[in-house]
Symmetry: C2
Subunit: 114 residues, 2 copies
């Protein structure tokens, strides 16, 4: 899988903006963007990734996945539910494929749409 830095650089260029512009809009230092793109430092916090994606007008999942981190809202929201805890433990052990996650997303929708 492409590294976070490579993806970020690619998407930033697609958006046609400089590191400095992106940084300014995201409220970050431009040198930080540079280091991220070159993989000199670990990916930013998940919420920062999301902010960046909004600026670049792209879906967050790919960059988020490349960052390997879960959004704070997800952690606080799901972390306090025993049911979520065991679901997540099980899902993790099963090492689901992307197709299987898609299936689960359907199950999720069916929960309320039936």
């Amino acid at each position: 899988m492409a590294s976070f830095g490579d993806l970020l650089r690619e998407e930033r260029r697609k958006a046609g903006i400089t590191q400095r512009e992106l940084a300014a809009k995201a409220g970050l230092d431009f040198s930080y963007i540079s280091k991220l793109e070159n993989g000199r430092i670990p990916p930013p916090a998940a919420d920062t990734v999301i902010a960046i994606c909004e600026i670049l007008k792209i879906q967050a999942e790919k960059l988020l996945a490349a960052s390997g981190k879960l959004p704070a809202g997800v952690q606080s929201g799901l972390g306090t539910s025993p049911g979520a805890q065991s679901f997540l433990q099980n899902a993790n052990k099963m090492n689901l494929t992307e197709a299987e996650w898609k299936e689960l997303n359907s199950s999720l929708r069916r929960l309320r749409n039936d």
Copy 2:
């Protein structure tokens, strides 16, 4: 919901051991256990919660949920999957009930058992 500290104290007493014994087995300082039980400090890292549960011989979900944190393995395992990322975002926004999480756990089993 009961606080992490109250739950911990309750379960430790059920197991019939002292703070010092629990701490020793978990590789922690006993004063740390004391502070946890009294809510003086935030709950420990998820992996520490799991270690404690193993010593107390109880299921981890309740204490984990009271701690509000997700195990590191879950974060690194699910955080790198785009499918998991979007599933978790959706699930979080839906604010699922415990019963619904149980449903999803069944869907999970069905994925491989069919």
